[in-house]
Amino acid sequence: MCRMAEDFVATDAQLVERARLGDSVAFDALVRRYVRPAYAVAFSIVGNRLDAEDVCQDVFVRVIQRLDQCRTPARFAGWLFAIVRSAAQNSLRRERLRQSDALDSTDAATRDNPARDAERSELRVRLAAALAQLSRAECDVVLLHDLEEWTHGAIAEALGISEVHSRQQLFVARQKLRTQLGDLHQLNRADND
């Protein structure tokens, strides 16, 4: 099996151990595995793309600096998301101090279809706001399941919870998100179909 394929199937614990020794391939595999849910968590707190990306960058730098503090490498996901939340909230605090109220003003979306872009932008903002209303566990589970398509078994292992708990969290999270999003989510599904 080639190295890249090995990294694709390697467990978090294996990748963390290798990254601790400075293995850049293992660290890159961890980044690729978690950058999307980390970004989603950050975006749900800071509310705009540029800050969410900055938070992600800072978080992964912090991760490599503090990797020895990750006591249970098999639960890297939960540890990472806690750092993302903390960093995003700090970023938001700083942003509020600067009294910047531009929400998603630097979005790099295509401008070919302004009406569609506006709708997607609204969905993005509403989705982020709805995600921010979830508990930590609900947010982590729904992102890993619906965004990253993880199984409940993998989520349970990564977050240190039971599979039943993972299913419950997902059910509640989806209910809350649908209530918050309402018709907008239906429109988006139809748009994607």
Binding site: G22, D23, V35, A40, C56, D146, L147, A173, R174
Partner: protein, 112 residues
């Protein structure tokens, strides 16, 4: 339906550029970790070796102490003098001692 997954596609854009930036920022930190890892490996190799050498040293010294015969005493001054001058040990004893010879030892010599 709560069974349908939530579509986060609109919220999460392609993040390849972000991954590249993260990797670039983390590269120096990983390099430091690699160097530290090498040092840890060297220390990890030296530690058991040093510990083993120490144990061998302690055991060897104990065994040698037990096995070697007790060190014989250095000949005293009288014996050395007797050997050097070729005189009887009694005389050498007398020479090295501070006390004068008793008259009972001197009488036979006077009588000769």
């Amino acid at each position: 339906m709560t069974e349908d997954p939530i579509d986060f596609a609109s919220m999460v854009p392609p993040l390849d550029d972000l991954v590249t930036r993260i990797d670039a920022r983390c590269a120096p930190l990983l390099s430091v970790r690699r160097e530290r890892g090498t040092m840890v490996q060297i220390v990890g190799w030296w530690r058991p070796t040093l510990a083993a050498a120490l144990v061998i040293g302690v055991i060897s010294s104990i065994v040698l102490r037990r096995e070697l015969p007790p060190r014989r005493g250095v000949p005293n001054a009288s014996t050395q003098l007797a050997r050097a001058l070729g005189v009887p040990l009694v005389l050498a004893d007398r020479i090295t001692s501070e006390a004068p010879p008793p008259s009972i030892e001197l009488l036979p010599e006077i009588g000769r």
